[in-house]
């Protein structure tokens, strides 16, 4: 590391690495230099002049946000000249800015308001009429109110640099400059809302949250996004038992501030009018609402009866339920119902990766690794569509550390903007293409390989063998589709695997086999919708479904039990990298129960001894019993992400035939996506915009 530079700020000595900006050096001392346009992680803009400071021997005030520290530099931030400069800057910013904070959506969390309060003057010398422009709607998500804009360019930079979407710009100049969307009068973009959250003022507001509440009226609940497998922390703003917004301004979680449209806004499925809020039992051919006692009694009776006569029972678990629920469900199936037929819809071949790695836990990459690795190879996945956080991480890594990214995909992907090599291959041809990159990859100091669900079975083995042959440290990410797809495998929702990838002694039917078995007696489906794309051969089977909505599968059920979503419960989920994080319940929905609670009640009704069905004891059991899950409890308790380290998957025959990636896009996400009005209201839904890309 280069030698530290010594300087003094407001008379206090501080040392900083060469290249550090004065504004950041001051932060180390706890000295705030006010700033609007400076934003950590984005390019320097020096547009607002709010950060002016006095530097000894400099003829005029300098912008601390662009000034690198120098040996012996003497900086003053608390002089009359600086105070006066701040006042003047604020006076200028307020020239055309409306002074109607009481009715502005940003009121209470507006940086301009705060700055005016701390550094401004109470009056203005401008008597002229303010320039007024009517508010515009750029998309169902993004609204723009030009007069409030202070032209800090944060929105433009997060969209162009951060996401690579390039949907925002600044047109005109001077007092009539304004933010413009990429399609004339509207936006065609990722609709992620990053521009809205990063806006220091009320110029950009969201169609979802605007004018619904004042920020201080909400409770803020940090939990994990329930959509894709990347595991972003989303902080839900809750008031009166409704979620009003999602964001992650405190940068907690693996995602920092990043969220895609799903994590930020698609929580609205929760309040969908078709949400099931009462158990249903089929009588006279129709599903009719009954009490929980009746419904659970009916299920317990049929389960006991089927078990007693050795009937065939199939259990299908979920890609979205918690680890605790998955663990308990497989225990329920295997010990309580005596069936080995338990499975889930597999979206990536995690067992194949773990068995190929043969216990090398350190070869599993984390989300953080994507930001630091020197090189990355993306195989058979369109990250921007299916793993938005990873696309953002890799891009940030390239922007900040010049990471070298290689892609092998079916069609164009957003990484093409900066990747060092982009190979286009038809599905099935990926491995050959990957192998052709060997000479280049060998020269990299290290590599993270991310691969989609198209790479499975023997192909995963071949990929790992290829990685091993490079002679450099290689880490892997097996990309799966949903928020707890990884946890479903880890917790043994597969006939051949017990929790922690231990071989199951008596493997039962796979999901496809259950659906095809004409003599199946009971099918118990938890948070899944297999009958959307397949039919159930056993016409007489007794079908129990736990879900949020009357899906195709639920519509065929004999008993439907209304379940709580991830935003309504506690527990843990594991992202596609294998990092466990904790869910926190944000609210309660009338009439529903968490799947875990349902399992517990059913177990009691059946007099099964399966242990307490509450998240904490079940997680303790997981920590104690599931190989790889002995993670530090403190990390989870404090809202952190703990990497699991599963043992080697056993030598079991690979089942690539069972892996069926869901092919969701940025704007779809299985059942939940279908019930989100926000997702279906954006022009880009269902994601046709990027047709032909990736896997």
């Amino acid at each position: 590391m280069a030698e530290l530079v010594h300087l003094t700020i407001d008379g206090r000595p501080v040392e900083a690495a060469p290249g550090t900006l004065v504004i950041d050096a001051a932060k180390k001392l706890g000295i705030e230099i006010p700033a609007f346009c400076y934003y950590e992680g984005l390019s320097l803009q020096a547009a607002c002049r709010m950060c002016l400071v006095e530097v000894e021997r400099a003829p005029k005030l300098l912008t601390a946000c662009t000034l690198p520290v120098a040996e012996g530099m003497v900086v003053r931030t608390a002089t009359p000249a600086v105070a006066q400069a701040r006042k003047s800057m604020l006076e200028l910013l307020l020239t055309n800015h409306p002074l109607d904070c009481p009715v502005c959506d940003k009121g209470g969390e507006c940086e301009l308001q705060d700055m005016a309060f701390r550094y401004g003057v109470g009056e203005s010398r401008f008597a002229e009429t303010k320039v007024h422009v009517p508010e515009k709607q750029f998309s169902p998500v993004v609204f723009f109110d030009a007069p409030r804009c202070i032209l800090c360019y944060r929105c433009v930079r997060i969209c162009n640099e951060g996401l690579g979407v390039n949907a925002l710009g600044v047109v005109n100049r001077g007092a009539v400059s304004e933010i413009a969307p990429n399609r004339g009068d509207h936006l065609e973009c990722d609709e992620c809302g990053a521009c809205i959250d990063i806006c220091p003022v009320g110029a950009l507001t969201s169609g979802i949250y605007r004018y619904h509440a004042r920020p201080w009226e909400m409770e803020h609940v940090g939990t994990i996004c329930t959509f894709c497998s990347n595991g972003c922390k989303t902080t839900l703003g809750v008031r009166g038992n409704r979620i009003l917004r999602g964001n992650n301004r405190d940068r907690s979680g693996v995602n920092g501030e990043f969220l895609c449209i799903k994590g930020r806004y698609a929580f609205d499925f929760l309040h969908h009018p078709e949400r099931l809020q009462s158990p249903l039992v089929r009588s006279g051919g129709e599903l009719r609402p009954v009490s929980w006692v009746q419904a659970l009694g009916a299920v317990a009776e049929r389960f006991l009866e089927a078990r007693a006569r050795g009937g065939r029972i199939g259990v299908v678990g979920s890609n979205r339920t918690t680890n605790e629920e998955n663990y308990f469900l497989q225990k329920f199936a295997r010990q309580g119902l005596g069936t080995g037929s338990i499975d889930h819809r597999r979206t990536g071949d995690v067992p194949a990766l773990l068995s190929a790695l043969a216990g090398r836990g350190d070869a599993l990459a984390t989300v953080a690794d994507l930001y630091t690795t020197k090189a990355a190879l993306v195989v058979a996945s369109d990250l921007a569509q299916q793993h938005p956080l990873f696309a953002f991480q890799l891009r940030a890594n390239w922007r900040h550390h010049h990471a070298r990214v290689y892609t092998v995909t079916r069609g164009p992907v957003r990484e093409d903007q900066y990747s060092v090599q982009a190979l286009r291959v038809p599905p099935g041809g990926e491995l050959e293409a990957v192998e052709s990159l060997a000479p280049a990859l060998r020269k990299e100091p290290e590599l993270v390989i991310l691969f989609g669900g198209g790479i499975r079975g023997a192909a995963v083995q071949r990929l790992v063998a290829f990685g091993d042959s490079l002679g450099i440290p290689v880490k892997y990410v097996c990309l799966v589709d949903y928020s707890n797809s990884r946890g479903a495998f880890d917790m043994g929702l597969a006939p051949e695997l017990l929790p922690g990838y231990q071989p199951a002694p008596n493997p039962g039917l796979t999901l496809a086999e259950m659906l095809a078995a004409p003599d199946l007696d009971v099918l118990w489906v938890v948070g899944a919708n297999p009958l959307r794309e397949a039919s159930l051969a056993a016409e007489k089977a007794f079908v129990v479904v736990q879900d949020l909505f009357l899906t195709e599968t639920a519509a065929r059920a004999d008993v439907v039990l209304p379940a709580a979503s991830a935003y309504e419960k506690a527990g843990t989920v594991t992202n596609t990298c294998g990092e466990v994080q904790r869910l926190r319940p944000a609210l309660k929905v009338m009439g529903v129960k968490s799947d875990l609670e349902i399992f517990g009640l059913l177990a009691r009704a059946m007099r099964l001894e399966l242990g307490g069905a509450r998240p904490e004891p079940v997680f303790e059991e997981i920590r104690a019993n599931v190989p790889g899950y002995g993670v530090p409890a403190a990390v989870l308790a404090t809202g952190g992400a703990a990497q699991t380290c599963p043992a080697a998957a056993p030598e079991i025959p690979p089942r690539p035939d069972l892996v069926r990636p869901a092919s969701d896009t940025l704007f779809t996400s299985g059942t939940l996506g279908r019930y989100s009005k926000v997702l279906s209201s954006v022009l880009e839904f269902p994601g046709e915009l990027y047709k032909g890309a990736g896997e």
Binding site: N166, A167, L168, G169, V170, V171, N172, R173, A180, P181, N182
Partner: protein
């Protein structure tokens, strides 16, 4: 869209004159030349130049809307640009602008019915040392006076 062979050749040279990865630097000259040939920076020109420079159409719009010498509508055959920025203003630029406006019967960013003249009040054109200054198309006219302006306009009238 294609341009005349001359312009195509010029564009090709332009794109080569910047370091690799800096194609976007050709943006402003390209827009100027395209405007001269097409008559205005039309939507089609924006799309085309964006494609050639490797930027988004919105990024081209940012530039077009920023620089007053780029026009979305065709200008008159003689585009009279009167500077009223500070140096010129102090030396009567605003009076010259009013005079031109009266003479031509058009206002800021307007074009005469016969399409011969258009008028624009512009910011500093970098000729402060010879203020007040007027620019007609690409020609500069320095140290202007009301008489010189009358003569200038009359001489332009005469050219067919």
């Amino acid at each position: 869209m294609t341009f005349s062979p001359d312009l195509e050749a010029r564009f090709a040279r332009l794109l080569e004159s910047y370091p690799p990865g800096r194609r976007r630097s050709a943006l402003i000259p390209m827009l100027m030349y395209a405007q001269d040939e097409v008559g205005a920076v039309t939507g089609e020109v924006v799309e085309e130049v964006a494609r050639r420079c490797g930027v988004t159409p919105l990024q081209v719009d940012e530039v077009v809307s920023y620089y007053s010498m780029l026009h979305r509508q065709p200008q008159g055959k003689y585009h009279v640009q009167v500077c009223t920025n500070i140096s010129c203003l102090l030396r009567g630029g605003d009076k010259l602008y009013e005079q031109a406006s009266r003479k031509l019967g058009i206002g800021h960013k307007e074009t005469t019915a016969d399409g011969r003249f258009s008028l624009e009040e512009v910011e500093c054109i970098g000729a402060c040392s010879w203020a007040p200054a007027i620019q007609v198309n690409y020609d500069f006219h320095h140290d202007m006076t009301p008489e010189k302006l009358d003569k200038l306009l009359a001489s332009l009238e005469k050219i067919q």
